[in-house]
Structure formats: structure tokens, C-alpha cells
């Protein structure tokens, strides 16, 4: 079979995807999968043109998203003073006027993660990844169950010494865990309704979870920014990254392990993988954490899609890979190696784009009202959900936003919202979907 792929096409499509990713990935809650859905839904460009367009466009967009999403997580998801206990390092950096440094540390991790991914996949990965896949594939669901249990078990009871009575201490100890359970199961129920009812119009079935994920991960942050009327301190935008070689190695190793787990196992996401990777590498310190986040997310997002390009592995992981695989699945080694080269190219471009975008956003946010920018983002997210999924999508969005808000005020992990994916899949593979659908009134 002859392949008519040209490196010029690869670069052009990849850079177009990267351009879109760089332009829009700073918006909080706008996952790259939603971005791709929007592109495919709004334009017939990919369904009638070159078959190579979608995979390389998506790869460019995903790599750019891996870098550029650090802007949203650093600058646009800031806590107010009532939630000091749950500040992430990136937010601490931001409130200390060092948001740009957090982005730089993140980018260091992302760059190392992607270079490792490309080096590994094009050498040892060529041979070992199909073996690893065959080795683990019968046990995916056990791994998924183990990760869920690990998430809950690692939320050991906290604050139990603050109560005045035994009952109060019991409540304080278990409050956060109970909040996590509430969030997990409420998300799971919403996942069932989005998947097994006619709420979402059929022609956009692939976007059925878009209202949920924007509700879980995007809108609560944005709304809180608006309500808290936070103002940001002046930001130091010098290109300075404060870290040490040991922290870089530790953070990158932690992130690569976590991102690799998330990319390889279905349903497990970057945050869950990073949690496991952090424990595996025993990471300490804000700088190592930020580097590990960059590496984990880059390896997770890009790795999951890049597996689709591996001709002998034949594995589809993640929403973007499923979307692209629906149009065209790369089949030849030349397509795989072009993909690897594109990752390096777009990583370089995205690194530069993210650094300068970070600088621009840092300056913008100290001049323009943070609440106003958040309001614009909120309107955009709501409009996007309405455009894709209609009024019922807005209903799901509202319910999901309530769940995301609950995760915040209970100071619990936002990744419990992934119950929307995990619970339906777990019950399906264990054979209990029937009973749950009956209980939920949609049978």
C-alpha cells in the first residue's frame, strides 16, 4: 500500500492545530477534546478533505494544550481568602506575584515529559508498548478499581483534633471524605443521565459529557472568581524559574510516571495519574510539584493520542483519540515517526507561545478586572454548551457546576468529578448497569 503523506502537510496541519490550541487553551474548563468537538462540529473541513488532516491537526492542538492550559490553571483558577487551605502551589505563586514563574516551571516539566515521550516511543516503545498493552489489557478494570480505592483511601481523616466534642471531631474528621463521596456519586449519576437518557441531542452524542466537564472543572472556578471579586497583585514577569536540578529530576520522573499511567489505562486521567506518580516518586516541594504537573499533563494528553499513531499497538485512549480515530487511524510507521517529529516541533513552538502568553496574561490581569475577564469566560462557556448541546445541556451544566462547587467547599479532590466517567464504566463492566438505570428512572 502506498502512502501519500507529505511532511509539508504534516507540518501545516500540525501547526494549524497548534495555533488553535495556543489561541484557545488558556480558557478554563475548555478541554482540548471539547475544542476538537467544536472544530469538527462547526466545520466539515476534516470530514471531506485529506485523511491525514485530523490526526496531525489534533496532535498539534493537544501538544499546544499541554503547555497552554497552564495559563488557565495558574492565572484563572485563583482561590479567595476563605479557601487558603486548598491552595495549589500555582495559586500560591500567583498570589505571591510569581504566576509567571509557576508557568515556567510547568513548561519545564511539560517539555521534559514530551521529549521523554518521543524518545521512548520511537525507540524502546516501538517494541515494548505492544507487549505491555497485551500484558495489561485483561486487567484494566482492576487497575481502574484500584485507582478509585486509592483516591478515597489516600483522603485520610483530617482536622479530627479541632472538635470540642467527640461527635464534632468525628464530623470534622470525615467531612472531607464524605464530601468526596458525595461528589463522586453525584458525578456518577450525572454521567449515567448524560449517557443513558435522551437529554443530549443525538447528532452531538460525542459531546454528551461536555456540559458535565465544563460544569465540574470550568464554571465553578470562574464563578468563584466573579463572586470573590479577587484582584491580583502585580506579577513578576521576568523569565526566572526557581528550582534545583534534583527537583527537576524528581518532578519530571513523578510526572512521567503519573502521565504514563493516565495515558495507558482507560478512564484514568492526568490528575489521578499524577497523584499516583507523586506517591511513587515521593515528590516534595512546590517547584517539583509544578514540574511534575507539567510532565504529567503533557505525557498524559499527548501520549494518549500518540498511542493511536503506533502501528502495532492499536490502542485508542482518550476522547481526542476516539474522535480522531473515527475519521482516520494512522497505519504506517512513517506516519508514526512524522507524528513524533511534529510533537517536538509543536512543543518548541508551544513553549515559546506559552511563555509569552503567560507574560501577556500576567500584565493583562493586573490591569483589567479579574471578575470581568471571568464573566466573559463564563458567558463563553455557557454559550459553547448551549451551541453544542442545547437547553438540556445547560441543565446538565448547572447540575455539574453545583457538584464542582461542592468539591470546592468540601475541600476535596476535584478529580472525584470523574465519577461521571468511572462509575458508569465500572458498573457496566461488573454487570450492574441494568439495576442502576432502573433506580435512576431511565429504564
Amino acid at each position: 500500500m502506498e502512502y501519500f503523506i507529505s511532511p509539508i502537510d504534516v507540518i501545516l496541519w500540525g501547526l494549524m492545530g497548534a495555533g488553535l490550541g495556543i489561541a484557545l487553551s488558556w480558557i478554563p474548563g475548555l478541554h482540548v477534546a471539547n475544542l476538537m468537538i467544536l472544530v469538527l462540529y462547526a466545520t466539515p473541513l476534516f470530514t471531506g478533505g485529506s485523511e491525514y488532516a485530523a490526526p496531525y491537526f489534533a496532535l498539534g492542538a493537544v501538544v499546544a494544550f499541554s503547555f497552554m492550559s497552564s495559563i488557565a490553571s495558574t492565572y484563572l483558577s485563583v482561590s479567595d481568602e476563605s479557601m487558603m487551605l486548598m491552595l495549589f502551589p500555582s495559586q500560591r505563586y500567583l498570589l505571591a506575584g510569581r504566576g509567571h514563574r509557576a508557568v515556567l516551571l510547568y513548561c519545564i516539566g511539560a517539555l521534559i515529559g514530551l521529549l521523554f515521550l518521543v524518545a521512548f516511543m520511537t525507540t524502546a516503545g516501538v517494541v515494548v508498548m505492544p507487549i505491555i498493552y497485551n500484558l495489561f489489557s485483561p486487567y484494566y478494570w482492576f487497575a481502574l478499581l484500584a485507582v478509585v480505592l486509592f483516591m478515597f483511601l489516600s483522603e485520610w481523616p483530617k482536622e479530627s483534633d479541632l472538635g470540642r466534642s467527640g461527635l464534632e471531631r468525628l464530623w470534622l474528621a470525615w467531612r472531607q471524605i464524605l464530601g468526596g463521596i458525595l461528589v463522586f456519586f453525584a458525578s456518577g449519576v450525572l454521567g449515567f443521565y448524560a449517557t443513558y437518557s435522551g437529554l443530549i441531542k443525538l447528532e452531538v452524542s460525542f459531546a454528551r459529557l461536555t456540559p458535565l466537564f465544563i460544569g465540574f472543572f470550568g464554571l465553578p472556578w470562574v464563578l468563584r472568581n466573579i463572586i470573590s471579586r479577587r484582584t491580583l497583585p502585580p506579577q513578576d514577569t521576568r523569565h526566572v524559574a526557581e528550582t534545583a536540578p534534583s527537583a527537576v529530576v524528581n518532578g519530571a520522573a513523578s510526572g512521567i510516571i503519573g502521565g504514563g499511567i493516565a495515558a495507558f489505562f482507560p478512564i484514568i486521567t492526568g490528575g489521578m495519574g499524577a497523584l499516583i506518580g507523586g506517591h511513587t516518586a515521593s515528590s516534595r516541594g512546590d517547584d517539583a510539584f509544578l514540574i511534575s504537573q507539567g510532565a504529567a499533563r503533557a505525557v498524559y494528553y499527548t501520549g494518549a493520542l500518540f498511542f493511536l499513531f503506533h502501528p502495532t499497538m492499536r490502542v485508542t485512549r482518550g476522547a481526542v483519540a476516539w474522535l480522531v480515530g473515527g475519521l482516520y487511524t494512522p497505519k504506517a510507521w512513517i506516519e508514526f515517526y512524522y507524528g513524533a517529529a511534529l510533537i517536538v516541533l509543536v512543543a518548541g513552538a508551544s513553549l515559546l507561545g506559552t511563555i509569552y502568553m503567560s507574560k501577556a496574561v500576567a500584565k493583562l490581569l493586573t490591569r483589567v478586572s479579574y471578575a470581568k475577564i471571568s464573566a466573559v469566560v463564563a458567558v463563553f462557556l455557557v454559550a459553547l454548551v448551549y451551541y453544542l448541546t442545547g437547553l438540556n445541556g445547560l441543565l446538565l451544566l448547572a447540575a455539574a457546576t453545583a457538584v464542582g462547587f461542592a468539591a470546592m467547599v468540601f475541600n476535596t479532590r476535584l478529580s472525584y468529578c470523574l465519577g461521571a466517567l468511572i462509575l458508569p464504566v465500572l458498573l457496566n463492566v461488573t454487570g450492574y448497569t441494568d439495576e442502576v438505570l432502573t433506580v435512576l428512572g431511565i429504564r
Binding site: L95, A406, V409
Partner: protein, 470 residues
């Protein structure tokens, strides 16, 4: 704005790392948590009420094919199961595979069920197992990979068997000309048993020919091992006499075989069976001389009539000068002489009992030389005599309505400019399993000509008689 010196501690750093130095804005987190719980519960209740009012729709397969935005859509599909259920063991787990086709698309949708669902379906026996010839409604989740669309069954209660081929035990000696998905029986001795990936395949030598039979491997898992062992052992022994029933399946669309649906439908006989009735082979012109006797005639399939619950097939001598009417029931006429499959003037053999000088009661039959259905324009159809089996292709629906107890009246027009009524009785509507084609739809119609209350019409009697093209 100026950047704070690195040697100093900025206000914000004091604020972050020494929060006790800055006045805190009092926020009642307990109240926020309570509010969050109320909002979560309220949101779930709201979604519940909206969801129970938004049932999962039945979607034509055409809408699912090659549409990546339908990836992961969970929908109902409704159609005909077109292949025997097949079970594969992959990594120690069962995978059940069936294929479903509706009239919206010429292609079949592969539908899979993996363990534990596959085992759960099979554990419930054949009652929940979608079988070839069944008209089913299935809750599935769709996957689209390039130009390959497939689906996964979602749960046992999402399987609805709407209708299943059945009827009287009509015995055949050969499957040539027997319509696919007919429910037929055969008896004879087992020959050439062989294990194939789909199950146990063997031939039955009947009194007049040979019939191929498949016991699908899905039945191995739907019955107890003891029963399966006994049946398979007996069928694997050449020379065993069996009497069985099942659904006709055309393997690769050309090779007909009976697919056994239930192991209870297989009966073994240790002794030579009673021989079936003997039919005297006569010329069709001699029928008046054989009243009350069993005869076997050959002739041309000429027309179909219907009166008071009985169908009459007109069979003519090859010179078309002499005709007899053969009384058949609906299942028999569809099984043997489906107007969408067997064309006017096909050469057929009829075995039956002569009940009058020109009437025969049908017992068995076969198509000896099949002709393609007579394809005409609407204008030409209007000129055809009553009873003539025919076919009209690519006609456009002008208007359509449901009358009486679910009968369809569809007016069609084609390039000839003429219009004719297509009448689909409710019995055929049930088999079609599609919704009423709206005006503007393009359809293929196969049936026989009739005139009712002075109006020319084509009567559709089989599920293949009305195909919606677009």
C-alpha cells in the same frame, strides 16, 4: 506597576504565608457546604425529571454509520437480526456477536456484547438471545472507526425481541428457493458433521435432497453442558436420524442453511422414520384426474390472489394454456414465493393434495428456476392484470397514511408520471419494522397487483416488499 524586590517580603507574601497578620473576611463555610449539598441534590432532581421525559430514541442505522459525532451515542436500534448469534472466547471471556439490519441502510450493524453481559444474556436462555430472523429493539452504544460502525449492547433489559419467525411445522426437502428467515423443518439422516467457528455444521439427507444445518455455538452456552453434550454427540454421528426446525440463513448470501434456534427443536429417532407421503408426479394438465390424491406438479408461478384469509397461487403450464390454483397460507406464500425474490413465470414445483379439478392444497414446494421479479414502471404496473407479481423501483412517495387496524396506504409515483396505491396490510407492517415512509421518500416496492373498490393497487405482503431508499 513595580515588581517587589526579591530581598523584601511583599504584602501578598505576608498575606499568603502569615495569614494571621491580615484581617480575614468572614465566610461561613458551613453555610456554603450546606448550600452546595442543596444545590447538588436540586441539580440531580432537576436532571432526573428532564431525563425521564427524554427517553432514548430509536435511531435508523443509516444515521449512525460513519458519523463520528455519534461516537458513544447510546440509542435504541430496531431491525432484523441477519446472522446467527456467534460466541467467541477472547482472553477467557465471552463475546457475543450479532448483526442487525433495518430498512434505512443496506449494510448490517455488528453488535457485540462482552462479558459479563454476554454470559448474562446466554444464562437467560434463548428467550433473551437475539436470533437470526428476529425483529429486535436493542439498547446499544455506538462506535465509529473510519468507515466501520459497530455497537455494544448495554444491558439485558435493553434487549426486546419484537417478533420471532414461527408458524406451522413446514417440512422441506431442500432449501433452494426458500426465503431467508423462514421458519422451516427438515428430517433425515445426518451426513458430514464438522465443527466450524460458528458452531456445528452438518447436512441432512432428506427424501429428495440435502439440507445444511447449523447449530450455532451460542446455544452451547445457553443450555446446560449435559444437554449440549448429548445433542452434539448425537449430531456428530453420521447416519443419525434427526427431525429439526430452525430459521433459514443464507451464508454469504448464497448458501442456505437451517439455523437451529432451540435444542428442544431437535428430535432424534433410533428407528427409521415413517416415510413422508408419496406424491405422484403428474403433468399439470392431469390434475382434474387426481382429485383427493397427493400429486407433484411443475409449472409457472403466475399470480397471487387473496380471499377471506386464504392466498391462492396461480400455477400455469409452461405453455400458459392451463392453470390451477394452489391454496396456501401467508407464511407459505412468503416462504416459497416472496414477490420480492421470486419473479413472475419462475418454474416451481408444488406438492399437495388435489381438492378439486383445478385446486390443490399446498403441502410442500420448491422453486426450480427462479426468475428475477418483473420490474415495471408505475405506468406499466397499472396495465398489469390482477394477481401479477411485480416490482417497482425508485418510486417517490406522494402521500402516506395509516388506516384501519394499522394498514398502510401509500401513493407512489415514478418517472413515468403515473401514480398507484401501495397497500401494506398490518400483518406485513409488523414485519417491516419501519415507520411509515413520509412523502418524498424514495422506495422500492414488490408485491402483486390487485383492484379494490375500483382502485388499482399493489399489495405488499413481505418485509422485503417495501424498502425505503432515502
Amino acid at each position: 506597576m513595580s515588581t517587589p524586590s526579591r530581598s523584601e517580603t511583599s504584602d501578598i507574601e505576608k498575606y499568603i504565608y502569615y495569614p494571621e497578620m491580615a484581617p480575614r473576611r468572614p465566610v461561613n463555610m458551613g453555610l456554603l457546604r450546606a448550600l452546595a449539598v442543596v444545590l447538588v441534590v436540586g441539580g440531580l432532581v432537576g436532571v432526573y425529571y428532564a431525563a425521564v421525559r427524554s427517553p432514548m430514541p430509536v435511531v435508523p442505522i443509516r444515521d449512525l454509520e460513519n458519523n463520528i459525532l455519534m461516537n458513544y451515542a447510546t440509542v435504541y436500534i430496531e431491525g432484523l437480526v441477519t446472522s446467527p448469534p456467534r460466541v467467541d472466547v477472547i482472553g477467557g471471556k465471552l463475546r457475543l456477536t450479532i448483526h442487525v439490519r433495518d430498512n434505512s441502510s443496506p449494510t448490517e450493524l455488528p453488535v457485540y456484547a462482552y462479558d459479563p453481559l454476554a454470559s448474562e444474556i446466554l444464562k437467560q436462555g434463548v428467550s433473551r438471545l437475539p436470533f437470526i430472523g428476529d425483529r429486535v429493539r436493542l439498547l446499544v452504544q455506538v462506535r465509529v472507526r473510519e468507515n466501520f460502525t459497530y455497537a455494544y449492547l448495554q444491558d439485558v433489559r435493553g434487549i426486546y425481541i419484537l417478533s420471532r419467525p414461527s408458524g406451522e411445522r413446514v417440512y422441506v426437502d431442500t432449501l433452494e428457493g426458500v426465503a431467508e428467515y423462514s421458519y422451516v423443518c427438515a428430517s433425515g439422516t445426518v451426513r458430514n458433521p464438522r465443527n466450524v467457528s460458528a458452531g456445528l455444521l452438518f447436512d441432512i439427507t432428506t427424501t429428495r435432497g440435502r439440507v445444511t444445518v447449523l447449530v450455532p455455538n451460542a446455544l452451547y452456552h445457553a443450555y446446560s453442558g449435559e444437554l449440549v453434550g448429548a445433542v452434539v454427540s448425537s449430531l456428530s454421528l453420521p447416519g443419525t436420524y434427526v427431525d429439526l426446525c430452525g430459521v433459514v440463513y443464507y451464508y454469504k448470501r448464497v448458501s442456505p442453511e437451517i439455523v437451529v434456534r432451540e435444542l428442544e427443536e431437535i428430535r432424534f429417532s433410533p428407528v427409521q422414520p415413517v416415510r413422508p407421503p408419496v406424491f405422484t408426479v403428474i403433468d399439470i394438465r392431469d390434475v382434474p384426474n387426481y382429485v383427493n390424491q397427493n400429486v407433484s406438479i411443475t409449472g409457472l408461478f403466475y399470480a397471487i390472489y387473496y380471499s377471506a384469509g386464504t392466498y391462492y397461487v396461480e400455477v400455469r403450464s409452461t405453455d400458459e394454456a392451463f392453470a390451477v390454483n394452489v391454496t396456501v397460507d401467508r407464511a407459505q406464500v412468503i416462504s416459497l414465493l416472496n414477490p420480492a425474490v421470486v419473479g413472475w413465470r419462475s418454474l416451481i414445483r408444488i406438492n399437495g393434495t388435489v381438492t378439486g379439478p383445478r385446486t390443490i392444497r399446498y403441502i410442500a414446494g420448491e422453486v426450480l428456476e427462479r426468475r428475477e421479479p418483473l420490474t415495471v414502471t408505475v405506468a406499466e404496473a397499472l396495465k398489469q392484470p390482477v394477481g401479477r407479481p411485480l416490482r417497482v423501483l425508485n418510486a417517490t412517495v406522494v402521500s402516506s397514511s395509516v388506516v384501519g387496524a394499522g394498514n398502510w396506504r401509500i401513493y407512489i409515483r415514478d418517472a413515468s408520471g403515473a401514480t398507484i396505491l401501495v397497500f401494506v396490510p398490518s400483518s406485513a407492517v409488523r414485519d417491516l419494522g419501519i415507520s411509515l415512509p413520509p412523502p418524498g421518500s424514495v422506495v422500492d416496492v414488490a408485491g402483486y397487483r390487485d383492484v379494490y373498490r375500483g382502485e388499482d393497487e399493489i399489495i405488499v405482503i413481505s418485509r422485503e416488499g417495501l424498502v425505503v431508499r432515502g
